[in-house]
Subunit: 382 residues, 2 copies
């Protein structure tokens, strides 16, 4: 298997991008990434997107985007794994470059969510429709059940849970692409509207428009394009039960643990080697459970640790230096690619005021549904 590196990145701001269509957003991100890498020709294009059919009545995004970015003729395909679509697009592009089938691949992600009449209905198609969505359960409801189970078992308080979005908003202040780069307080979380008890509005990642792209090439050719390639040293992907009621334990995410184990094994590193991690905090409870499944905390300990100051600068692994899904925004198909971009910028020393110092390894963890799928990347500075 050939070694593979990220040689260029580009993304839109995340937010309410009313003036840009889905193809406009993707083109902005793709052309920025191509400029960053200094490449003019893409051999193979992967577009991560959860639900362009329901959101914008446009499938066939591989063709649309190859055409719109001036790369007609390139191989092009869409990859979908609900909210893990972006991470899976990066993984698919990695496989093609690793196999030797192509040298220059673009992996992007995009979602245009604000145009939809009922975004919750669209997002519910990531759950088990026949057994969950048709019964009236939405994603805040599913994660609320996970939060309730975790709080009961481990004695996590509502105030402690609020520390997760407060930390992530603090990080996002330094991220120029973030949808909500505003400070948030514990009191602000507790006073926000109740969405699905115990989760309040400030526990929930927002509806977002946005796109993100990276360019991959073989590591041994990367120096032709950049002085600072970042190597993808580990990838793990796993599925779990599509329905929450099939989880053996509501406080666990088996797909995340498996994907993490596979990525650590491939990279030959352990959690203690990771300086920072972008995790899929679609809801505040998700960040806590994911941080445990990835081995950064013992089971039951992450929530209280974060409430006591873990997960931010100067206190061990930095969790979501970008601001995470909650504060940076969560255009679902773009999220996994944006996580890989954050890892790349951090490992290139280009993260500005949110730079994690002396980082050698960074991790990106992307997730679909209530843990139905997850993909984990480990990147290494060169």
């Amino acid at each position: 298997m050939r070694e593979v590196a990220v040689i260029g990145v580009g993304m839109t701001r995340f937010g309410e991008l009313w003036s840009q269509s889905i193809r406009d957003m993707f083109a902005e991100a793709a052309l920025k990434a191509m400029d960053d890498a200094g490449v003019k020709k893409i051999e193979s294009l992967y577009v991560g997107c959860m639900s362009s059919g329901l959101y914008t009545a446009q499938e066939h995004l591989g063709s649309v985007m190859a055409d719109y970015i001036g790369q007609r003729g390139a191989a092009a395909v869409r990859v979908e794994s609900a909210c893990a679509s972006g991470g899976q697009a990066v993984r698919a592009a990695f496989m093609e470059v690793a196999s030797g089938a192509c040298d220059i691949a673009l992996a992007g992600g995009v979602e245009k969510m604000w145009d939809a009449e009922d975004s919750s209905m669209v997002l519910a198609t990531a759950s088990d429709q026949e057994y969950e969505a048709y019964s009236g359960v939405t994603f805040p409801g599913l994660y609320a059940m996970m939060a309730r189970a975790y709080m009961e078992r481990y004695g996590l308080t509502r105030e402690e849970l609020a520390a997760v979005p407060v930390k992530n908003h603090k990080h996002a202040i330094n991220n120029p692409h973030a949808q909500y780069p505003q400070p948030l307080t514990i009191e602000g979380v507790l006073k926000a509207s109740l969405v699905a008890d115990p989760l309040r509005l400030m526990d929930c990642s927002p509806i977002s428009d946005g796109a993100a792209c990276v360019i991959l090439c073989p590591l041994d050719k990367a120096k032709q394009y950049t002085d600072k390639p970042v190597k993808i040293v580990g990838i793990g992907s796993a599925s779990g039960p599509i329905a929450l009621h099939d989880h053996a334990d509501f406080t666990r995410l088996d797909a995340v643990r498996l994907a993490g184990e596979r990525a650590y094994k491939m990279a030959n590193v352990s959690p203690k080697n990771i300086s920072f991690v972008e995790v899929h905090d679609c809801f505040s409870i998700a960040e806590i459970i994911v941080a445990e499944e990835l081995g950064f905390f013992e089971y039951g300990k992450a929530g209280k640790a974060i409430a006591n100051g873990a997960g931010t600068y100067g206190n061990g692994v930095v969790i979501n230096p970008s601001g995470g899904l909650k504060a940076k925004g969560h255009p679902v198909g773009a999220t996994g690619v944006a996580q890989v971009i954050e890892c790349t910028l951090q490992l290139q020393g280009k993260a500005g005021k949110r730079q994690v110092e002396n980082a050698r390894y960074g991790m990106a963890q992307n997730m679909g549904g209530s843990g139905g799928s997850s993909v984990v990347h480990i990147l290494e500075a060169q």
Copy 2:
């Protein structure tokens, strides 16, 4: 790059499968393929599907299907390229096995179309929504324009065009999985309802439910599973303009030509080496243009050649021995995988009454939209 082989195949009958849900169909095909290969554990799963969001309100099919076929934990993702989704799923699985990242991959395709209220609206999401579908053009309309341009330029008559579906129905009579294994006459085509002039109902592939799966593994391990592995020797994938009005020539499909050239180059063979080809005859005119773009006929010659008896047994390359999309059926996400299954069965000598004798190389050509994407596989008997 490791060499890759198909070691097992399975599919449902194509048709109106009212008693089976999308997951039921996929599970039937997947478990048959696993039985055929004698494998119990899948490492990585690729599900080709065009529009499960709009058809069945279920995205996240990788997770759903891994779960439903008893393979929780496997890596799993959906691949989409409109009607070329199935072929792209096979290509993606090929890349992962070729890279060395896994040994046993399942590539499947599925579409549940009959449950939709307006299948034409769903299919239109494979065209350029903003410039084509929103202006009222449907796929029969797009291919009708291609047919009109071809007939005008090359003098193909309406009667000659009808020879394509007549041939394909003749082939489908011997295919137990075909949706319409009934004979069709030239007169029957000419008397069928007009859909979009000059195309009539019998020029158009049907609405279909169905699923198809193949199991891939490294060629050097294939004999552990089957006495008759079939090697994938060439793959080509390409995009073209998403909108028909951006084609430089309405009688050409650039993505098909490019994908074919790439597959021939990788396999180091030429059209004269190919004994049979499964082509994407979504409309009768498509088979004619595709057969020319793949190099089996000169431009402008395929239509008259087929009308004069080419494309069937005993007269050069056999085109669509399975019956093709028109007669076998076209559950869009499943079609590309079913084409690879037909190639596999033919090259294993298991195609029964529709067996092409002494075949060494077979080809499968799958297409999205009006040529927005195409993927071509060349398979070789071992």
